[in-house]
Symmetry: C2
Subunit: 430 residues, 2 copies
């Protein structure tokens, strides 16, 4: 067993964690009382509370509300060091992580590098249809949406004005549904009084989903409820509609042609390319096939967790959601601990505590397996749960303040366009 | 008189305001009850509360805390329209404003386009010494400062580490003094526990001022008090020190050579280049010489206000500060009103309500002319005053929350690096 070599060397095992998202952060925290040296590497300085990212993209929350410095979150954990550096690849043979700031040797490695959005083999679509994964993505989309209303107010040509007031969301998963539900809510509640030449209520939102229903991972009746809620908000929901082209000012799905200046991509994911450098088997979207203990068959010292892995639990694939990552992190740590103690590892079992999605104001759907809740009750539960899980007391208070403000005034507090105009809009000018 | 032509045409006078800063916003608000059509043009979508900009640059406040959409601030003023467009030039002969979104005719024009920082004929310094005027500037400087600590934590070479922990602020005016005072405060209070390999307390801040004392516009004893306060915080204050070169990794002032990766420019201002298109006389830094009524001699229908003008009041030049702009806006409006009513215009008289500057925590200096206050009392007064003037109830609450958090925890709530690394840092890598 490899582990005994450390003990003989008389030094503490080095656990390197790549990524400070839910998987990496919860893994680091689980190692708090272990006699190991923890090193967390992330290309950014912050942990991102991804479930609320769409609220930054829709100007409800500020970027600082849903981010906290990783080193601040781990400030009291003396065995943990955090470094901001981009990991380039992993060399499992030499047991080193190669990053732009140098090489970092490990005894155990936890790879939690997440996923990016993917464009089904059409990377050229990205320029006109930004996705929503990082805080920078959210700031860029916020800028796009706010700028669209500004440009509509400026437009003389009614056709151009309509194109600026037309929003297309591609992908009917939770992110797509939440984005599509939020845009008409903002247009009606927050912006209506502020414009003089346009009626912001006339903003049209189209949600395009390739499959037969939105929220395909939810039970059918909840999908139907989400569709009804979206339609009530004025969203044009089109299922069985595969996008065939995304170009400047235009989205096509077969015969359907939508003239729009704002397209948001919420359709496809691809795992972090770091998975490829592990030499393990990957699935179609680049996710690593891990063993039941979350490690690699050829490298039991390497664990891969979060939405960059493909694994089944109780016969069902584990979804790429935050709760799964939060459970995998501590599970990988438990198996590292058992390995050091020379005890057998345990298989990962996913406990699905329920799925939740919000659709605008006072509307949400929740699936707890044994119970399904929709409407106002689900919406309040959603609020409560997200405040509970938000990392750090400060952010929790700040988000409560923002939400309280939005709830009572119908306004949005983070309507900031930072850089004049988004690059894509600038490029589309003559 | 030109005004009579409007009355005969039977339409409401058009007042175009360029800029949504303090001057432009207060002018627009002053026109609330007038029978005129107000058009506010700004290249951004927001009014910026500039006196707190350095708090965004030092990660204390979030960008959304000190910005509000201009159209939101004027939402209840039905005679006002706000358009986001960049003004390119003014054609006084044809009475039109030429912007990238088209031409806008006016009967009265209020130009309140502000100032940018200037580099004393060394525009090449800007790449290595960003200035602090816009919210984008503040986000970039925040990124610079936070990234410097991250890079110091990564550095193996002690010389390189020291360069990352060395901060140079050029210019000893209020912005320079407030920036220089805040950096050691953050390094000691907010960051110390979060790093493992560096002592953030060892961060060195050097403040370079070309003249004989900091805060040259304040009375001498307050300058001396500011210098003592800065020195107590560990800032190396060097007066009579003219910067001779700013290059990558190095600032020179004659014999003095400082090795640093973070330089902040707070030394020079230049008025908006729009002044030049007015055909009026400009001073050395491009400020427009206006008449005592704030209008142009050759064009009484054009008013220029804020820090892009040079004017004297009671024999003393009016400083380019927020309170002056807040007074000039309504004064220009008063003179427009009097012109429409065929009454004589009034000369502008600046009422200096006092000067204030903060130096770190619990330290500030205030000069009310008849009274000078320093220390804790001045600091609390500074807090109170800035909260009072903050535009919009929402921001006021949010800033109070952030300050309360910082005050009691010694932490900073907005430590977000948005784009991996600032461009300048990336460029400096091999």
């Amino acid at each position: 067993m490899v582990m005994t070599t450390w003990v003989s060397e008389g030094r503490r095992p080095r656990v390197v964690i790549i990524g400070g998202g839910f998987g990496g952060l919860y893994a680091a925290r689980a190692l708090k009382r272990d006699k190991v040296d923890v090193l967390v590497l992330d290309r950014t300085n912050h942990h991102l509370f991804q479930p609320l990212l769409y609220q930054v993209a829709t100007a409800t929350l500020a970027p600082t509300d849903i981010t906290s410095p990783i080193r601040w979150l781990l400030r009291r954990q003396r065995n943990a060091t955090v470094l901001m550096t981009e990991v380039l690849r992993i060399d499992p043979a030499r047991r080193v992580v190669i990053a732009d700031a140098g090489e970092f040797p490990y005894d155990f490695l936890i790879v939690a590098a997440g996923a990016r959005h993917a464009y089904f083999g059409h990377p050229e679509w990205e320029a006109n249809a930004p996705g929503l994964k990082s805080i920078d993505d959210a700031i860029a989309i916020r800028q796009h949406i706010l700028t669209a209303f500004e440009r509509a107010e400026l437009a003389h040509d009614p056709v151009e004005r309509d194109a600026w007031l037309s929003f297309v969301v591609i992908g009917g998963g939770p992110t797509g549904v939440e984005m599509a539900g939020m845009i008409p809510t903002i247009a009606k509640d927050a912006l209506a009084r502020d414009f003089r030449r346009i009626s912001t209520e006339k903003a049209r939102v189209t949600l395009l989903e390739g499959g037969p229903r939105v929220l395909p991972s939810y039970p059918e009746d909840l999908s139907e409820r989400a569709r009804l809620d979206l339609t009530a908000l004025g969203v044009d929901v089109r299922t069985d509609t595969l996008v065939t082209s995304v170009a400047k000012g235009e989205v096509r799905a077969g015969e359907l042609v939508l003239h729009t200046r704002t397209v948001i991509w919420a359709a496809g994911n691809a795992a972090s390319p770091l998975g490829a450098s592990l030499g393990a088997e990957l699935d179609r979207v680049g996710r690593v096939r891990v063993e039941q203990d979350l490690s690699l068959a050829a490298h039991p010292e390497i664990f891969v967790i979060g939405d960059m892995v493909t694994i089944s639990s109780r016969g069902k694939p584990v979804p790429g959601v935050a709760p799964a990552a939060m459970q995998m992190g501590p599970h990988a740590v438990k198996n590292i601990r058992r390995t050091i103690q020379d005890r057998p590892r345990l298989p990962f079992v996913y406990r699905n505590k329920g799925d939740l999605a919000t659709i605008g104001r006072h509307r949400a759907i929740a699936d707890f397996g044994f119970l399904q809740v929709t409407g106002g009750a689900a919406w309040w539960f959603w609020l409560f749960l997200h405040i509970m899980y938000l990392a750090g007391f400060r952010n929790r208070l700040s988000v409560l303040l923002e939400w309280g403000y939005s709830y009572f005034t119908y306004d949005r507090g983070a309507r900031l366009i930072t850089a004049g105009r988004p690059a894509a809009v600038q490029a589309s000018e003559p």
